[in-house]
Subunit: 267 residues, 6 copies
């Protein structure tokens, strides 16, 4: 494997706690190289899942955090000036297609609808990527697969995937794990006791009921891990929760009271 792609191999098994049949379904999808869409709220484990799958399948993983300013060139590549004129620099999508990586476009809705169009020829039977500026037609490597993440709660009138893009993907739904599984995850990742981890999860579950009633998103598993890490470092649970579960996500006094009350119930 060339060094260019080698750096994208996931070397250590990422910790991932299987929830249902998502690992098997993904493997079937990968076996036919079906483009995949991972759907679910912020911080529920989509990125961790794809890292785990890349490790399990032994394929390099190239992750691209999508944003509104991303141009087609940022994905596909561009000419750079060199001592001897111009030199073509493959973008992350071209590298993935050429060398057979899994290309993971994170928060793809952030990209402009029309930038997303450049992935179309990689998602149908042709599996090609035209580098129009270079005049080259890259035939995707047999191992290449494209995966995107998508947060349904984010869809707005302005930003949604085009129907003609959505139709090109199979999809897996993700959500926050069940109480016991999430407790296990928090304990494993932070070193707090199962009892404390369970309390943190209970706080999160209360807060998630506030979603749509003043909170845009619930408290994620990632935030619980932040709280747990501080507790392990000796910070008072109350202070740790305020610092990681309450203050970051709201400045509304009533909402802060509601979240504080949830915290105080358990600590």
């Amino acid at each position: 494997m060339s060094p260019e792609i080698d750096q994208y191999l996931v070397r250590n098994m990422p910790y991932y706690r299987t929830v249902a049949d998502e690992v098997d379904l993904y493997e079937a999808a990968y076996s036919v190289r079906m483009p995949m869409m991972l759907k679910g709220p912020t911080g529920c484990g989509k990125t961790r899942f794809i890292e785990y799958m890349a490790w399990k399948l032994g394929k390099p993983l190239i992750t691209v955090a999508c944003n509104e300013d991303m141009t087609a060139s940022d994905l596909v590549g561009r000419f750079l000036l060199d001592a001897s004129g111009t030199r073509w620099q493959d973008g992350p999508l071209a590298i993935a297609a050429r060398f057979g990586a899994i290309c993971y476009l994170d928060e793809v809705v952030e990209a402009r609808q029309d930038t997303t169009v450049v992935i179309h020829p990689l998602t149908d039977a042709r599996r090609v990527l035209p580098l129009e500026k270079k005049g080259e037609l890259v035939q995707a490597h047999p191992d290449f697969q494209i995966v995107i993440s998508y947060n349904p709660g984010y869809q707005s009138l302005m930003k949604d995937l085009k129907q003609s893009t959505k139709q090109r993907f199979g999809a897996l739904d993700f959500n926050y794990p069940a109480h016991d599984i999430e407790t296990e995850i928090v304990a494993h990742e932070t070193g707090v006791s199962v009892e404390i981890a369970g309390k943190l999860v209970s706080i999160a579950e209360r807060a998630r009921n506030l979603k749509g009633h003043g909170l845009d998103e619930g408290i994620s598993t990632r935030m619980l891990i932040y709280a747990g890490s501080l507790i392990t470092k000796g910070v008072e649970p109350l202070a740790a929760c305020h610092m990681t579960l309450v203050r970051p996500i709201t400045d509304d006094p009533d909402m802060r009271d509601a979240l504080d009350a949830a915290v105080s119930t358990f600590f």
Copy 2:
């Protein structure tokens, strides 16, 4: 044939199931090099048809996925820096015009109305492409033809072709194939039995009735092929249908129920 254009030849016969007289009409249009517009919904086979025709006519095919950021230069070409100064790089439209390829502008409505204007001189009696930045007037090769795709369901106030562009094209309508033909296609492309393929087509037919009642587009033939491929790999038909026909296209609980019901009727 130069290697520059040679890579665009379609070497193997693409699988295309003729529906009506579309192949004959297209051949007549090509014989007078009439610019053509392929109209129809996402994933119904327009791209496959033009690949088949390019193969049948033995002409190279250059496909451009149009998008809002595409500039005239992306179609026509630009100067690149070189060791010895600047070098002109033909864009895909210029390559097609110069060497006599079929140039297929996919989802042309995505491009800015005014970018589309650069194709006008290639669509009237002159058949020329002015490379204004280079100061060259390319006379189109006798084999050159321009083809665009157009999804009528997509037209919006913001994005539609200008009347003066539309008038420059002959048009063919495409739609999802009739039940038996679509069944034959799904079975052929995925290896599932005709019985299973027929069930998948029936699910799609139900879902297509929901178009405009909460679904922007129906389930396409391409999506049925995704479902079939997973079934061939041993995935449960129910899980395969959820993953490929339901989850990708809607997050609305009611719509998901409606689609799930359609799936459950047949599996």
Copy 3:
């Protein structure tokens, strides 16, 4: 004549059927080098007319398809990088002014109002073109004339020529030709019989009455020539008319029925 301008000479007499006194009026305007504006709907023959006049006057013709992204530099010229630094590249307007061509700005309303301002110094008594980036003041060649096309049906609140631009041009009105003349044109250009050509013109005349009642533009002479060409190639008149006169311009079922009825009346 330098080769740079030589390629813009119209070598063969374009077929143009005189309708009224437009050829004489244009010759008078050219004799005083009055800037001219050709007004009329899409596809009625404005471009053909100016090609014919350029041929008749024996002057080179440089056509620029205007679009919203066209900058002043696209008309006037720019510096290009070269082995020995930068090299000035005249734009089409500068070439025309320098070497004495007729410069035809097609669909000039598409250009941004303010880009059009660069033609002002060429349209008053000074007849100069300042190449500000190069620090040169080009005095127009005695043969130079500027001509623009303008589709009155297109004017919108957003896009119209500024009054101070309009006032700098003399204007000629164009419209679809009278029945017999248009029949003659269609027969001449496609090889169909006068009878068939007459039927095609009659269909167009009916459709033109629908303009403003659901159709943005009527059926143009160019579209009739498309229909005629297919009929000459052996396509059924009905199929040829659907493909070239109906499908390209509307997807509205009622409008399609109305146009189909017009076609069926004659074939």
Copy 4:
């Protein structure tokens, strides 16, 4: 005088018919190098006046047609790539300030309000032009003066000069000349008889009453000169008037009738 500025000298006396005390007032303003604003409708002679004054004062005249895309660099200058790196290229404003020309910014409202700000340091006691990109402070040549044109009928909410810009200029009002003077001008410039010239002026006077009642601007002196030139070339007065006074400025049938009636009254 350096050749760079020499090309901007007005060599032949431009024809200008003095209307009131505008020549004397301008000379007084120039004697204190007061920045001047020429106000008046399109085509009434502002540009001709400034050319005449430049000739009379024996100063070079650099005219810049302002537009919305004009950046500060277009006025001030920029670095260009050269065989030996970059080379500074003065813009028209910098050339005028450095060598002592009159710099005439035509239709200055078209420029973005904030681009206009670059002229401020040249209009107060300092009379300097900072070339910020070059790190140079150009002290204006004693002969330098800045002049702008301004069409009051054009002001809109979006486009007007900032008050802090207006206050930096003295102003002269211009309008269409009185009947006899305008007749004299048209006859002089086109060679038609005084009688015909008078008729053309009378038509214009009627049309100018329609301004604000369906016409954005009246018929300008420049348009009358167009009409006269065609008549001199043997075109029928009626045809000449339609081509130059009616068709260019309106497509509204009622307005065309009104203008045609005015024409028919006199020819």
Copy 5:
């Protein structure tokens, strides 16, 4: 002192008529290098004041006329191409910080709110300017001070300084001088008699009462100096006032009548 900064020294004492304690307060502010904001209407003497203070303190003065297109790079600097690659070019703010000049940002509200943010690190205790593109952290020279001007009458919803910017400045208010002082200024600057100067000031005082009643700004001291200069050159006071006090600032007939009346009262 390096020649780069030397050109910004104010060599001759600018004429400035002290109004109150503004000179002392400014000197105190400069002694602690407090960033200063000069507030007041157009043309009342803010620029003259800062030039006078720079001369009095013997510090170089770098003035930047702010505008909406000004980028952070225009203030801070950029890389330029050179024979031997790229060369860093300090912007005016970086020159001022490096060599210890007073940097005067004129009409700072015109700049985009967020461009202004680059001055923040120079206005707090750190007094640094990060040249992020160059990877250098410029520690401001002990003599460096930043001064901005601000016209309170200009504030709009779209354009105002951010509160977090305003808080970083001490502020001095400026206004048109009292009658006798303004008379003295006009007489001194133009050479007209004190009587005539007093009449001009009286006209201005009347016009300033119209501010907000149809006039955006009153008549400034600068405009009175324009009028006086023309009168010194022999222009009739009435004509001089029309040309410099009335026509430049309004085209509204009623407002012109009101201003003309004010002029006629005194001349």
Copy 6:
């Protein structure tokens, strides 16, 4: 330590008056390298706090003043032209990640939501920064931490952090210090007596009650230090307060009266 990063070390202990447990909580957060968000109004000491913590932890501090024009390249780096072609220049975020600095993004809401996305991979378990244009994946140095500041009073519909960004940070709340602490700070920083410092703080406390009633923000500690510095330099307290506490933040006459009254109460 390389010189590139060495310049970012805070060499002298910044004066910071601890208010509560913020120093301990921050140290715990740093010990797990948790990304931190400092929340609070303008000028209350957030920047000073992070400088103090960087000094206390002995880590370099790279501060970036965020603004709307900041692109991902401004944070991450870009290619520069060099004598021998292009050379990669790390941006401040890449330098911080590579060499182990604390990277402080000041007023992060000013940056476009989507530019902020580039920090995501540095805030989850991966702690990587993809330099996509260079094709390099930077693994963050063990000492690296990311800190952002956030003014809750600034949130608007247009500008707020995305929920998926907020969730990646622990948060500390900041506010103006209690009366005695603020008095101590003002006296320490300016050299005025505790009595005068206390009066200044009392004025600020009155003004802060006006926040939301005509004042966008209250008077900050920074502004009190400005006032104190002028008083130390011998400026009358009344004049010093007007110049630093009143004029900079409001032009509304009523509000100025209210603030003046507050000042007069104490001086």
